[in-house]
């Protein structure tokens, strides 16, 4: 490994219970992706092949809420292995749309979706898919979060600004530009 390569920041992006819109917004930083590529190594992401969340991650951007036992398991590993954890987008920050089911019991919600509203093969799935939690939570209800980047999705501008500031070792101030809902 060359010296320049070793100096690259190890960045991960994660997709938990969200719609991937935050990742689409990340891609919307367009040609500046090339600028970022010079400074970061994308060690884990829905956009690359790695299947296991690696150790020694400098910045982890996490999209989506904590809705299943798998999410719960993953976020703890992500926290343990990352220096800076960014709560990316409203689902991660507030629970947002995934959390709307929390007003109903998990049981009644599953019955409604997989039984009442299903036309064939009515059954609540229990195998292969991870077990859902009774309550959908934002990331900070489970682990410590360093940076909050609200928005549904956060603008490409805000995502680029946050990553750039973090790469420079600064804490991004998003007060004036980021808010819940947009």
């Amino acid at each position: 490994m060359t010296k320049a390569k070793a100096a690259k920041a190890r960045v991960a992006t994660v997709w938990l219970d969200g719609c991937s819109g935050c990742h689409m917004s990340l891609l919307d930083i367009d040609e500046r992706l090339i600028l970022l590529e010079e400074k970061i190594e994308l060690v884990y992401s829905p956009l690359v092949d790695a299947k296991v969340f690696p150790e020694n991650v400098d910045v982890a951007l996490v999209e989506g809420s904590i809705s299943s036992e798998e999410d719960l398991h993953k976020i703890k590993i992500i926290r343990k292995n990352s220096k800076v954890l960014v709560s990316l987008g409203d689902c991660a920050v507030t629970g947002n749309i995934p959390s709307m089911r929390t007003v109903f019991s998990l049981e009644s919600m599953l019955e409604r979706v997989y039984d009442e509203n299903a036309t064939i093969n009515q059954q609540v799935p229990t195998k292969v898919v991870p077990k859902l939690l009774e309550r959908v939570m934002p990331l900070h209800e489970v682990v410590d979060v360093d940076i909050y980047l609200p928005g549904c999705p956060p603008s490409a501008e805000n995502i680029f600004f946050a990553i750039s500031e973090l790469l420079e070792g600064r804490t991004p101030d998003l007060t004036l530009t980021a808010r819940f809902g947009a």
Binding site: N96, S99, T102, M137, Y148, P150, C152, A178, F180, A182
Partner: protein, 240 residues
């Protein structure tokens, strides 16, 4: 009323010497001097009730925090508008408003035009530190033109006040206490069955969030029109 007989007070707000009439509130005087105090339940043209606690200020000599919208100015008063303590309380209060109902901004009809949302941004609330309650509350779509979505209600009572004070119908009122408190129409009957509602829609326009909206609006489409309020309250004063 002999206006000339009203006493004039000088006071200090945020290290600035200010003058105001004794019948004015701290908030009114501060606004005249361009000093920003955050508000949420207050709306110019309606009575002030100090419900939301956003405008709390520190007054020298008192341990209690005072709501600037209902506290009258006094001679020699020293008012602090911005302090770490106040900023913390305001943020905490806003967070509690968010955690108490289901404010899903991204799919709300007032996304981008909401007083609660913009104040959260202004005061630096970028996440809610306490767990969300996720209450199971109702959406009343029984009215032919309007919707009451209690998921978004912050109990500011602007709807109650505009209905009583401006329209004179008193269709809206408040029921229950604490987290169970709800704004209601008539004696907690569906809005569409209300006999007192005139359908004027003023409540919808003054509502700070997406709790009251016009039907047929998608996310972010509900813009509130409040220009009628200063005019109507001025007319009311003239009529007295």
């Amino acid at each position: 009323m002999n206006k000339a007989s009203i006493e004039i007070c000088t006071l200090i707000i945020e290290n600035r010497e200010c003058g105001g009439r004794a019948d004015q509130t701290i908030l009114e005087v501060a606004e005249e001097y361009g000093i920003f105090i955050p508000t949420l339940c207050r709306l110019s043209g309606l009575s002030s009730i100090g419900a939301c606690r956003m405008c709390l200020v520190e007054v020298k000599g008192s341990n209690k925090l005072m709501p600037a919208c209902v506290t009258k100015v006094q001679e020699g008063m020293e008012v602090t508008v911005n302090s770490e303590r106040l900023a913390e309380f305001r943020k905490l209060t806003l967070e509690m408003l968010f955690s108490e109902r289901n404010h899903i901004c991204s799919v709300c009809v007032t996304n981008g035009h909401c007083d609660l949302q913009s104040l959260a941004q202004k005061l630096g609330v970028n996440h809610i530190t306490m767990p969300y309650i996720h209450p199971h509350v109702q959406v009343d779509a029984s009215h032919p033109r309007f919707i009451a979505d209690h998921n978004r209600c912050i109990l500011c009572t602007r709807c109650i006040r505009v209905c009583q004070e401006i329209e004179g119908a008193h269709t809206w009122d408040l029921m229950g206490r604490g987290t169970k408190a709800r704004v209601i129409t008539d004696l907690n009957r569906p809005w569409g069955e209300s006999e007192s509602c005139t359908g004027c829609g003023k409540c919808v326009q003054v509502c700070p969030t997406g709790a009251l909206s016009e039907k047929g609006q998608a996310a972010g489409e509900m813009l509130k029109r409040r220009t009628f309020l200063p005019y109507l309250s001025m007319m009311r004063e003239v009529g007295k």
